[in-house]
Subunit: 300 residues, 4 copies
Amino acid sequence: MKDVVVLGGSSGEHLAVRIAELLGSELGEIEVKQFPDGETYIRILADVSGKRVVYVNSLQRGPNSLIVETLYTLDALKDLGAREVYAVIPYMAYARQDERFNPGEAVSIFSLAKLFRALSIDGIYTVDMHLHRITDPTKLFGAKFHNLTGVRELGKYVKSNYSLDNAVVIGPDEEAEQWAKIMAEELGGLEYSVLEKKRISAEEVVIEARGIGVSGKNVVLVDDIISTGGTVVESVKALRKLGAREIIVACVHPLLVGRAYPRLLRLGLKDLIGTDTVLSPISKVSVAPAIVEALRKTLA
Amino acid sequence: MKDVVVLGGSSGEHLAVRIAELLGSELGEIEVKQFPDGETYIRILADVSGKRVVYVNSLQRGPNSLIVETLYTLDALKDLGAREVYAVIPYMAYARQDERFNPGEAVSIFSLAKLFRALSIDGIYTVDMHLHRITDPTKLFGAKFHNLTGVRELGKYVKSNYSLDNAVVIGPDEEAEQWAKIMAEELGGLEYSVLEKKRISAEEVVIEARGIGVSGKNVVLVDDIISTGGTVVESVKALRKLGAREIIVACVHPLLVGRAYPRLLRLGLKDLIGTDTVLSPISKVSVAPAIVEALRKTLA
Amino acid sequence: MKDVVVLGGSSGEHLAVRIAELLGSELGEIEVKQFPDGETYIRILADVSGKRVVYVNSLQRGPNSLIVETLYTLDALKDLGAREVYAVIPYMAYARQDERFNPGEAVSIFSLAKLFRALSIDGIYTVDMHLHRITDPTKLFGAKFHNLTGVRELGKYVKSNYSLDNAVVIGPDEEAEQWAKIMAEELGGLEYSVLEKKRISAEEVVIEARGIGVSGKNVVLVDDIISTGGTVVESVKALRKLGAREIIVACVHPLLVGRAYPRLLRLGLKDLIGTDTVLSPISKVSVAPAIVEALRKTLA
Amino acid sequence: MKDVVVLGGSSGEHLAVRIAELLGSELGEIEVKQFPDGETYIRILADVSGKRVVYVNSLQRGPNSLIVETLYTLDALKDLGAREVYAVIPYMAYARQDERFNPGEAVSIFSLAKLFRALSIDGIYTVDMHLHRITDPTKLFGAKFHNLTGVRELGKYVKSNYSLDNAVVIGPDEEAEQWAKIMAEELGGLEYSVLEKKRISAEEVVIEARGIGVSGKNVVLVDDIISTGGTVVESVKALRKLGAREIIVACVHPLLVGRAYPRLLRLGLKDLIGTDTVLSPISKVSVAPAIVEALRKTLA
């Protein structure tokens, strides 16, 4: 694609390489380093004047320094004369702090959106971000907002590596129904549902799969994010109790905080799959194709 | 002072305590913690609705996380109904990245100012910030901008601890003349000057004190910031060569990066003094009085 | 295996899970946390008294804290009455600091070995450690020392995922010949060699494959470790100049320091493979089978 | 002092400078840096062959990396031919983990001592280390062990800065009686005691000063260490309740973890003083004289 330069920040360069390749566009470079006093130095080595720029950076583990780097870089790109600037933020930090759950709390995602808004960029692409309480992200972030999904890419990987006889797709909770639905479609129209907690007495809660039998079935359990892994551990135990056979766990954002990874390995899963929105030992699938498909529509 | 709440962020609380005390105002609290995924959680515990709020945070060593904390908190204060919000940033990070020294560089202080501008706060108070290339900081930061000095407080400390017979005040370079001048005034009208490099042949450079004799004199060497300590080490060696006797080094911002502190201790100085804009083992002087003096004018 | 407990430290638990499973042994747990002052708290939750214990911890990126954790844990296991204690250190830090290259340098691997020696453990298992200048590691570390290889596991992965028609195996330098040889065997007896630098004039150096043609060939490039990625980048460029076709890069220890991963992605490799001695986005292969094979001989 | 070289590690260099000066000995240098993979590089730049070496390093906040640095350096000094090697560890980490409080815990200080023991050094000097459960530290650490006190230096500072009319010395708990005693002596024989918790009913506990009246008195509160500051906050509140007037808080090791410093500032103390065993904003007093006094006896 002509007049397009793809650039990666310090946690987005791996995706920038793949996106540039799929777009058939120039791949540029940015120098990012820390001064001894902890300030970040940023220098855009590519010539961006008059160009359309796709800047990729993921706001993953320890996001604050990446946020500053991202905002400074986007501002510099405009300042250096880029004609259009598109931010690809595969993982958007602070998305879960989208309400004042207790008095006095900062509603961080709104503040972060306001900072992006100050930069007048031309578009934002992110992947499977929680938008429950955000009805108009384009207005909030001040740039055409694209919330893409990585679940189709996860589905392609599952389909090409496993037989899906006798399989169903399950989301660990109500909210995950949207991802279960997409995964089920991608896997050729499998049945799908979500897990539900049911209180059966004052002391006892059971977990059930809503309106679907999992006994004797192979299960693809799908969620948007694995952080500490607690939800997955609980869900897998429930599915086993319900008689499920082999279980594959797939998530878009494998944050895998603390001991999450070994905890999940202890579950004896058939496979454990994440994407490269956040780099991890389970980042077996790239979201680059989903991002490029969306970028093509804008840049065509 | 009524209707005023003073709050400190995670690197400003020590100054918030002192400012509240001097102002005679309420001192509130903010809960700041890190989630396991590195996101920052902020909760303002004081009731700020309808109040005038003074928020203090220093953007010192490793400033990126502090920048995000500061911006989120300022935004939250407005959102929680504070009538007026004043940011006290004793040390402003990125002030030295105020020009594109090489093609493609981010001019970080302009980007940072733009982020502050997005928040519509009512005033910013900082201490001895480089403003060479910034002619209108109020416009740039989008809030009435006060660039205070900590040098008078350093001067008071020197005066009350040392005899100043036979003393002169020296700045390590041209730029430091402004601080040497203030220090000299504060010390009762001492002579002052700055060091200059003079090339005397192709190979040789000598350092001289411009238009002033230091031989046999005691010297108060004053600068705005000590980062790695290189400038001070070089200046002290030059002063000794020129025959200076006892040397006191005073700076506003004791960043003391890496091995700066032991390097300075090796110089055999009479004293080594900094303020509490940045906490360090040499933070013997508080800038709180200077900040409170300026705040009083606004809040009166 | 009876009377055997497998335990993982904070960077070894993923391998402990796999090792316990393959050994058919009990998998225990250790609680490891940091106090606010940065001290490490360690509590062995499994009952190890009278048992044979296999403790797994990798001394990867930022190894110092992991070294302290490992030494304290091994000492505690003995103290708690474990009958035999085996340390599995998939990646041994400081192995490259095995000589006084400049006067006054600490020869860190000798010091580290001395610390292990103080603990009187019963065996150490590590993977592809540099032992050029260490002739008797068992004496040095004070425990029966097993230097295993992860290259066979890498080979199995390559063989089962790629056709190897027209392929040769190359090591990036002299030292890597040992790994090229094992890989070549594992791939069914392929030809193998190493790259060599040849000075052809005062200014010019060329890189050649010693005694082997790579023009038109597919290449499996194999090394023990990828740190900054510089060696691989240089080698791949040389192989391309020599006419190589598709290139697969395989390494045992994917340290991938700094920007190594995106740098390698830019090379357009057919695949990029590492093991789980160090967790990384390319840790597609586990060394657990190699470790278990060796453990079985000891524990049988 | 002849044939003696004083060297500082990365958190001991400030004390090494002061110790060398007071001893009148050579001050050498060590290069310490981190490789990109997090390993520590150590090079002793001074010529230590045949010399007696005093190596100073404090095992303060984030001690693990400092422990590895210290052990490697001590081993290197021996290896480089130093005739005698003395380790000055102003703050000894892990001293509070000196018992198995819960089953399975590592008793870290015993493990750390064993690591020191492996190095065959000639003496260890530390300051106000907890030795309750360690009866023979010389045997445990395998080197003549000197547990010095920094309380006398604190006392000298208090005496020369404050009038002590109407003052008493208080320790916050039973254990602190030893420090209260020394402080009281140093202040010319003041009365001293400790605070005690007394249960007066099922719900209510009161804190009293054992056998001493504090009403209307000025108090010097002294402890060995301030970590989170909780003990000091509680003690100061109790003293105020008991009618104490002005309170000075003095401690040897100002660890000041997290928000300890601003918490203490909120107490409205007359002064808050620590030593330089751990560098902090309250490190107003050096323990160098106490260390030098002990070293002189050995090195004379």
